[in-house]
């Protein structure tokens, strides 16, 4: 091996044995460090995964939804409007959607009940999402009772559990025949919850919306792009919050690292003096401290990221449940789909590894540039 390479190796070997020498202290250091990386990485993974899910959700949404407003509140839409809207130029398809929320007192969650005209659906049968099957502990072929508006229970047989495409889209879904939806909720005939509209050319959507309002002044068209903006605003608000949380986590970490590292113990300072007196250059000492810091920070970084990955994607970010309870209004309980973003990891790496490395190098550099004699006597 070339001498210069051998020098790196020798000093790396010595750095490792130095770390082992101060096992207790370094383990404590790695634990705290790992915890910080874990919290930050969990937040980043979580927010990013939610964003991705929301985009998927919206990708399947119709171009425009038309609601009817009565006294400022969302009210069922007369089916008679379907034909009138369909004849507006540029409208491809109008679908009257019949749906509602069903609160299940047993497991304490909301289901989305949606009517489907699918011919494959057997009479008195329903299709359910994965999340429903999970929380109700039911499977295909089971019978489940649903309490109607009048308190009477009706039994439905589960014909199918919907395959998992994105959990957000189908997790809390219960699909049933339109007549069953009307019976369950006492939903009047001739009315629908809202209308879903597809346009051939998305650029015509604002014109179509204007025409609908002209025809039916009590209707409220909601464009997909508007929903997208709303979601984005919500996420950005949350994202903004995340930035604050993240920022303070990183800041406290820097303070921690600084405190840990600037407090070079008297023994360490003396050791630097001894090494220098044995003919180590300042740069050799710095290389040693750099290896030590790198081993600690890379170990903590990898452990923290792996733990955060498991936490967010296998345990559904269960530690954040309380802090982020608001999400359950927007989303059902679901399992996020694992994905890693190289950019995020890089940012995370620089936010955590760099400050620590700098914080360890600066004091060592100061100790390494004084006379060995002075470093030894101090």
């Amino acid at each position: 091996m070339r001498p210069s390479l051998q020098r790196y190796r020798n000093i790396l070997d010595f750095a490792l044995s130095s770390l082992l020498r101060r096992k207790g202290r370094n383990l404590a250091l790695i634990s705290v460090y790992t915890l910080v990386v874990f919290v930050i990485a969990s937040l980043v993974f979580f927010v990013q995964a939610l964003k991705r899910e929301a985009h998927e959700l919206l990708a399947q949404a119709p171009d425009m939804v038309v609601q009817r407003m009565v006294a400022g509140r969302h009210d069922p839409v007369p089916l008679a409007q379907v034909e009138a809207i369909r004849s507006i130029r540029g409208v491809d398809e109008v679908q009257a959607r019949l749906w509602g929320y069903y609160y299940d007192p047993v497991f304490g969650g909301n289901l989305t009940v949606l009517a489907t005209e699918d011919a494959a659906l057997a009479p008195d049968a329903i299709w359910i999402g994965q999340g429903v099957a999970r929380s109700m502990r039911v499977k295909e072929g089971d019978l489940i009772p649903l309490r109607g508006y009048d308190g009477q229970s009706t039994l439905f047989s589960i014909q199918k559990v919907l395959p998992e495409s994105s959990e957000l889209v189908s997790s809390d879904l219960v699909l049933m025949a339109p007549k069953d939806v009307r019976a369950l909720f006492h939903f009047p005939e001739g009315l629908a919850t809202d209308l879903a509209i597809q346009a051939g050319n998305p650029r015509e959507l604002p014109t179509i919306a204007a025409k609908i309002v002209e025809l039916f002044p009590d209707s409220r068209p909601i464009l997909k792009s508007e929903i997208l903006r709303t979601y984005e605003a919500v996420f950005d608000w949350r994202g903004g919050l995340m930035v604050v949380v993240l920022g303070s986590a990183v800041l406290s970490f820097i303070i921690f690292a600084w405190d840990k590292a600037t407090g070079l113990s008297a023994e360490e300072r003396k050791e630097i003096g001894v090494l220098k007196s044995l003919g180590w250059e300042s740069s050799d000492v710095l290389l040693l401290k750099f290896w030590e810091g790198t081993v600690i920070s890379v170990t903590a970084f990898l452990t923290g990221v792996l733990l955060a990955y498991a936490h967010v994607f296998f345990f559904s970010a269960s530690l954040f449940e309380h802090a982020l309870k608001g999400w359950s209004v927007l989303f059902p309980r679901f399992r996020l789909i694992p994905a890693l973003d190289g950019y995020q990891l890089t940012v995370l790496f620089f936010l955590t590894v760099l400050p620590y490395t700098a914080a360890t190098l600066v004091p060592s550099w100061r100790a390494a540039t004084v006379d060995p004699d002075a470093a030894m006597r101090s």
Partner: protein, 239 residues
């Protein structure tokens, strides 16, 4: 030869309590000889040796090495006089590594690592073939009677053993000058005699030896070619 002229070391110079530990020392120390520095505690012996050993710079004065720093700075001819007080830091490092082997008063072994690792410490930055240096270190430790302790942690060694580890470490890069600060302070008289035997071997091998000591076994020894007596930072006699 090591030549000192008007060397002064003042600690905390410019502060409220300056302290002059070495005061206008002018001295010629012959090469390949044993020179002993004696004097009461606090007279500046250790300070003077750290100045010679390039571990601290004098406040004023000049120190010349004649033909001693040959292979430390390859671009200089060996016989040339080298003025070390004005050298840049990285040359001083090279001289510390190649020219001087320092055996400290408190040994200054690095705690928590093995005897062998301590001896190898000065070789890490040189990037020499690790097998060769390790063989050298093992041979040296064996000749010093430490074969059984190669892998022991230095924390558990006796005083005499720790000193021999410090000697092995000072010699690993085969320096021209060996500096030993109070080497016999932690040893009984038998071990002190053994130490002096070792020094006589090094002298025969052509090494320049600088030793500080309060111990008559050292300064009254036949081996001592010159005894320098110090008091309050000044040289009071040379014999």
């Amino acid at each position: 030869m090591i030549e000192l002229s008007q060397v002064v070391k003042t600690y905390q110079a410019g502060l409220a309590t300056p302290f002059t530990a070495v005061d206008r020392v002018t001295l010629s120390i012959p090469a390949a000889r044993l020179t002993v520095f004696k004097g009461p505690s606090g007279s500046g012996k250790t300070t003077l040796l750290t100045l010679i050993g390039c571990m601290a710079r004098p406040t004023s004065g000049r120190i010349h090495l004649h033909g001693l720093a040959g292979d430390a700075l390859p671009h200089l001819a060996p016989a040339e006089a080298l003025e070390i007080t004005s050298l840049p830091e990285r040359f001083l490092t090279a001289i510390r590594r190649r020219t001087f082997g320092f055996i400290f008063q408190q040994f200054n072994l690095v705690r928590g690592i093995s005897v062998l690792e301590n001896v190898l410490l000065p070789t890490y930055p040189t990037g020499e073939d690790p097998r060769a240096v390790e063989a050298r270190a093992v041979a040296r430790l064996e000749s010093l009677g430490l074969a059984r302790h190669l892998r022991s942690s230095v924390d558990r060694l006796s005083g005499g053993e720790a000193q021999r580890v410090a000697i092995a470490r000072a010699l690993i890069n085969d320096p021209a000058v060996i500096i030993a600060d109070e080497p016999t302070a932690h040893l009984d008289s038998r071990l002190s005699e053994e130490f002096m035997d070792l020094m006589s071997q090094f002298k025969d091998a052509g090494k320049t030896l600088l030793i500080t000591s309060h111990d008559p076994i050292v300064y009254d020894s036949d081996l001592a070619d010159m005894v320098v007596e110090m008091r309050d930072g000044r040289v009071v006699s040379e014999t």
